[in-house]
């Protein structure tokens, strides 16, 4: 809690300072905040897709049959190996050639979700394999169905292990949303570049932009810490 207080005090101080110092703030801040709304939208949607794909491909790689394991491995290698920007361009410019036209928002969310899902799958796989093997053996001895084994025993323990890695990736994801400006979405970064071309206030505009991303990242960091605490406490009580 102490760090939350320090960070929010720091943010309040910096915002106050910037309001006091940067007289033209009123001119460009509304546009940047409008961009922040888009960034938050893209972030939330792609975080949902990212978590869904990570869990799916992670379980697939750790516990799937041969075909599923093979499919998830190909997914992970392809989307980890290519650059996010290339995937984004491919979705936006090449998909229409195949007759699938995606809206900029959809292309952005899909590209980011697919790319980070591949990284997240490795985190999830690592967490699942880190759950002691005896747990799985015990559930087999107790004649649990594979589905119940996963949802009741393995995943709850794996979640506590995977949260730090996943929250790091989520912060990376929020930073990566800056790329959606390449497919004509007006997010924080795009708005900042536009405003900079209008007003030539490079230092102010980009410091505010960076601070906005910093604030978003801090939300995720504290959220992740709270979740980790919740899940480990939850586990310890049961054990």
């Amino acid at each position: 809690m102490n760090r939350v207080a320090i960070v929010s005090a720091l943010i309040a101080f910096l915002v106050g300072l910037s309001v006091a110092t940067f007289s033209e703030l009123r001119v460009f801040l509304p546009a940047i905040l409008k961009g922040a709304v888009v960034t938050v939208q893209v972030s939330i949607l792609s975080i949902a897709l990212f978590i869904f794909l990570s869990v799916l491909a992670g379980i697939g790689r750790a516990r799937g049959g041969r075909a599923i394991r093979w499919l998830s491995t190909i997914y992970v290698e392809v989307f980890r190996g290519t650059s996010l920007l290339v995937i984004l361009f491919w979705m936006f410019f090449v998909m229409p050639e195949f007759g699938v036209t995606l809206s900029p928002m959809f292309a952005g969310v899909a590209a980011i979700g697919l790319n980070f899902g591949a990284y997240g799958a490795e985190v999830v796989r690592g967490a699942i394999t880190a759950v002691p093997k005896g747990q799985t053996e015990a559930t087999i001895a107790l004649n649990m169905s594979p589905y119940r084994r996963m949802t009741r025993i393995v995943l709850p323990q794996a979640i506590a292990i995977m949260i730090p890695g996943m929250s790091n990736l989520t912060i990376e994801l929020i930073k990566a949303t800056a790329l959606v400006s390449a497919v004509t979405l007006v997010d924080i970064t795009y708005a900042a570049v536009q405003q900079n071309q209008l007003h030539y206030r490079t230092v102010e505009i980009f410091l505010i932009t960076m601070m906005l991303y910093y604030v978003l990242a801090q939300f995720v960091r504290f959220g992740g810490e709270a979740l980790e605490e919740y899940f480990t406490r939850h586990l310890n009580r049961r054990v």
Binding site: G81, V94, E97, G99, K175, A178, T209, A217
Partner: protein, 221 residues
């Protein structure tokens, strides 16, 4: 979908070939910058005086918490304003180098902290100079965890270079965008860019594994 092989071989590939050189050049130079910058940041962060280490920690945190793209734009617009005119490629390499310095600093720190404290104490007991302590004892032992992590950052930097297309550096992504805009055919160029990144990352990952094994074997006999 219609894939035009003539267009691919006569127009796309020759131009992509040149651009691939720019991408690889940018990757290598940014990586070297990040290696040196990371070392400097790490030394500042672990400095004895809190007046040095605290600001260094905050700077590292701030660089890590803001998007690389914004930093590239920031440098790109800021440097000319304060009178430094650099070509976009240099600015971009600088931005990628600084961003990854902050990440590499953590790698170095983790590596050095993994060396048991007794090793330092033994060096003091043996009256070794600081230089010899680092060269013969600390650095060799901290390399095995550092090398694979740095290798991963090399691949990460490689995949970050398409960001340079935002400031019109003629690297592979920019060229495929330009080809797309000139001929109004994005399929071939963008797909080849994707395949290029995929193949290069897989090759790099393979090479890193070899280097990793080599370091493990040659240092920890």
């Amino acid at each position: 979908m219609d894939w035009d092989w003539d267009f691919t071989f006569e127009t796309v590939l020759p131009r992509m070939w040149e651009a691939a050189g720019v991408t690889i050049w940018a990757t290598v130079i940014s990586f070297l910058l990040a290696l040196v910058g990371g070392l400097i940041l790490m030394l500042l962060k672990t400095h004895r005086s809190p007046w040095v280490s605290r600001p260094a920690t905050e700077v590292i945190e701030f660089i890590r918490a803001t998007p690389l793209l914004v930093q590239i734009f920031f440098l790109f617009f800021l440097l000319p304003e304060i009178g430094i005119t650099l070509p976009p490629l240099t600015t971009g390499i600088l931005a990628i180098g600084i961003y990854n310095s902050a990440l590499c600093a953590e790698v170095y720190r983790a590596g050095f902290q993994a060396v048991p404290k007794g090793q330092w104490e033994a060096c003091i007991a043996l009256n070794m100079s600081t230089y010899r302590t680092y060269r013969d004892v600390i650095i060799p032992q901290s390399l095995p965890p550092i090398v694979p992590a740095l290798g991963n950052y090399l691949v990460a930097i490689f995949k970050e270079t398409p960001l340079l297309s935002f400031v019109a550096v003629a690297e592979i992504m920019q060229i495929s965008k330009l080809i797309g805009a000139e001929y109004y055919r994005f399929t071939e160029a963008v797909t080849i860019a994707g395949i290029f990144f995929l193949v290069m990352s897989l090759v790099a990952a393979f090479l890193i594994r070899i280097v990793e094994n080599y370091v493990k074997r040659s240092i920890l006999h």
